[in-house]
Homo-oligomer: 230 residues x 2
């Protein structure tokens, strides 16, 4: 890239690394892969890639997540920039981390094979290369604070879900158990969920009713000054 104004300035490789989160088996999971290039080829790594000149950083992150999961239209937010000099063993690379919350059911398992990707439980996360584990820790912090004040958790679930599932999602985010009655009471009095007639019988004989998130109602309530807190 030629510079008209800013001459004699150093330039840097810039990458994006994506903390792609899904919810399965009552636990948060993160999509990790075996790195396909040197150095540390074969090491466990987040999904990442270099930023190309014709795209913004946000676009690069979206592209990377799309490539690796086959999912478009994803909830993503930036975690931050990681700029230690030797964070990448090969070269000076500045990386911008993003977290993405996806519905794990939409995940393309063929792509998983292709990229040697797998979902790892956050409670049993193996060591990752470079500073990727720090990126994950930072993400979990952000998620815990953010999930408490915005209903972002629903991005991890399908259209419909049961209250026990929703509760175990929040338990997994906060890494602590929640009282069933208090949880249901709070959620239901918020009046942002709609109960359906169907039941999910996959995890109990009695079955649990499906609910769905009513975004219109939520937006309306926020408009009126309601404070969401979980």
């Amino acid at each position: 890239m030629t510079s008209t104004f800013y001459e004699n300035k150093d330039s840097f490789l810039v990458a994006v690394d994506c903390i792609i989160m899904g919810f399965r088996d009552n636990e948060l999971h993160i999509l990790i892969t075996r790195r396909q290039i040197e150095p540390l080829k074969g090491g466990l790594s987040l999904m990442g890639g270099f930023v190309n000149a014709p795209e913004s950083i946000d676009e690069a992150a979206k592209r990377v997540v799309g490539e690796f999961t086959g999912i478009e239209d994803i909830f993503m937010e930036q975690v931050g920039a990681y700029g230690e000099i030797n964070r990448d063993l090969a070269d000076r690379v500045i990386s911008v981390a993003y977290y993405a919350l996806v519905d794990i059911e939409q995940f393309d398992t063929l792509l998983a094979k292709k990229y040697d990707a797998r979902w790892a439980r956050i409670t049993m996360l193996p060591d990752l290369i470079f500073d990727h584990k720090k990126m994950v820790r930072d993400t979990i912090n952000i998620l815990q604070r953010k999930a408490a004040i915005k209903p972002i958790g629903f991005n991890l679930l399908g259209e419909q879900f049961t209250l026990p599932t929703l509760q175990s999602l929040y338990e997994s985010i906060y890494q602590e158990t929640i009282d069933k009655r208090n949880f249901r009471k709070k959620l239901l009095t918020m009046d942002i969920l709609e109960k359906l007639d169907e039941k999910d019988k996959s995890s109990s004989k009695r079955g649990a009713f499906y609910y769905q998130f009513n975004k219109e109602k939520y937006d309306q309530l926020i408009e009126q000054g309601m404070h969401f807190s979980l």
Copy 2:
């Protein structure tokens, strides 16, 4: 920079922009300057500079704040990376924003002259170049959430301060008035402030007692599981 492993990748100019905040006249202020280089020379801008190859991004941000304020040993945190393609009019520049909380009394006014820097009230912030105003807005959001759960406000004050001053600091951060009695009650029952014998008589005839933040006690209480919230 020559690349051993990562060939044919685009590289980028990377800058840091610093939202340097101080507290004066019962209001938060941000240090802004008139830009010294083209393009938009003379435009109002945050303090910034390019990252140099031999330094981490954090180090670059510290360097920039030191250069412009003369203050070392500063509370700084990253706001995030700004990577839109055309955010800088001249070239593709990726910028990482940091906010810094400084004691305005330590600010070197000679440097202010040198760099044509001045403190602008956040409630009357003029237009800034590029996406700098968005950086400021993002910072204020972070500050409001962070100040509520960590005692970072003290970084904006000197060693000792009065309760009316502390209250007006928080009022300025949250942009809303706080009840005097409730504020004092909460602060004092937290037991992290130490009352001094001296009074500040600069803003009233009666004078207000000075207090100071007891960090040891605070750390101890956090250790015991206390939750700071303001």
